[in-house]
């Protein structure tokens, strides 16, 4: 098991784990987080899969990350909109996202 392959296997396991979290989670915020983790696991597999000296996956992963950021930002805003103003007038203690 070269170092390279074990990272790839780790990525695969992380993918399944995040998929499990995505299925189990009820609150949309947790689902969004699970999707983020899934993204990272796919990028990990992408980079670990190819050879160490290959720059192409690294560039592609940068693009992937930016896309993931954009999607998460959109998801969070939709979530905020869904949670709606009712959440905000509670004392700020409740801010950490119920």
């Amino acid at each position: 098991m070269t170092g390279q392959a074990c990272y790839a296997v780790l990525g695969a396991l992380l993918f399944c784990l995040s998929f499990h979290a995505l299925i189990i989670a009820v609150h949309p915020l947790r689902r969004l987080l699970a999707v983020n983790v899934m993204g990272s696991s796919v990028f990990l597999v992408f980079i670990a899969g190819a050879g160490p000296r290959d720059p192409l996956p690294q560039a592609l992963v940068i693009t992937g990350i930016v896309v993931a950021v954009a999607a998460t930002a959109l998801g969070l805003n939709l979530l905020l909109r869904l949670a709606g103003p009712a959440e905000d007038d509670r004392p700020s203690a409740g801010q950490d996202g119920s």
């Binding site: 790839a8 993918f15 995505l22 949309p28 689902r31 969004l32 999707v35 899934m38 993204g39 796919v42 597999v45 992408f46 899969g49 190819a50 192409l56 996956p57 592609l60 693009t63 992937g64 896309v67 993931a68 954009a70 999607a71 959109l74 998801g75 939709l78 979530l79 909109r81 869904l82 709606g84």
Partner: protein, 472 residues
Amino acid sequence: MSASSLLPLLVLWPLAGGLLGLLLPRGAGPLLLGVSTGNLALAVALVDALAGAGKVAHSVGGWSTPLGIALRADGLSAVLILVAGAVAPLLALYASAAYAGRELRYFAGLFLLFLGALNGLFIAGDLFNLYVTLELLGLSAVALAALGGGAAALAASLRYLLATITGSLAYLLGVALLYRATGTLDLLQLSGQGPALPGGAVAFALMVAGLLLKAAVFPLHFWLPPAHANASPPVSAALSALAVKAPLYLLLRLWLSTYDGAWPLVAELLAAIGAAGVLWCSLQAVLQRRAKLLVAYSTVAQLGYLLLALALVPAAGAAAYGAFTLLLVSHVLAKAGLFLAVGNLARRAGHDRLDGFERVVQHLPLSASAIALAGVSLMGMPPSGGFNGKWLLLQAAIATGDWWLVAVILVGGLLAAVYIFKLIEHTFGGSDRPDATALPRRMEWAALTLAASAVGVGFLGQPLLRLLGGVP
């Protein structure tokens, strides 16, 4: 301007239009119409160029494929770009009448970026580039679905976003496995190698699952009905007609070129999923109480038909390939027309509950006839494009001797007739609502033109198939 430089133009033109739409606070309506008509002109130019050469390619940045990205267009992509190009101006016409001010500006920007992504996807020849265009398409679709919608629309868009991202990531994981095995991301270089690759089958399974989730095919269709039913008419028309077709087009590309339709049992499995989708979702469409939900479930049912055609291509060859394309083209036109028409009726009646559609047909005869014409194509009645597709599908199913598929196709057609006439029947009666708002004529004419062209395509079967060319 050489044919190959047409391809990048097809992407740059809508993207630039979309950017302008977001930058300029005023003048979104004319911009939307101008850019989408320009896009149609480019699509027609591509069809001319393709008629001669049969294939057009453009390597971005001049770099050869393992390094750079290649843009390629063959018969299928030209047809799809043409049909998307034809629908866009009509949706633009409808939107310019339906929206105003801030909403029109954001619709213009997002819809043109959506169109650019769609064109980009149909001509992309590189797996990762396909991922980025898929993602761009998905995000703009989610943004459009959430545009100006209420709580229900937001919840549906969030669910749509999560589903489309999950699908893309599963697809990307498949791409990662393929890249690891071959070192290249280009479809042409990968063609035919798929089955023999180490991990090729796993990559294929992941990609298919991801794309089916993004295309909302039967078992994974949970997110589509609420998203399409709560969006505003032009958006749900664009989503139902165009957005869900891109993943299926990509699935066809992978299934035919990279994996060369290798595994017969996979074809049977896909056909089974498609058939189940046709039956289950047509039945659900019949049971719906709300018009938009009915039309949304009809979309999922028609996607089942497309998957059926796709699964039959390796065994039945040109007949199934032609069926896939004709079904797709007529569904794009018919479904866009139907959503716009139902949108008109709902806007006029104030709600879209089916039993409340009183004599709206009296005040909106054009929309009622649009529903009828679109229904003719969805049911697969002879004069329409839907019939041509259904006929070729029947020939393919009979050629491969799958009699249970023939039965599913016919029962699907009957169920389609049930829910279409349920829609039509409800517009034939009940009390009158004199005070309802009058609708701008453009909205009705847009719906009617789309529906009429869905029937008109029935007479263009031959040229479309000639443009399509043989199975890649």
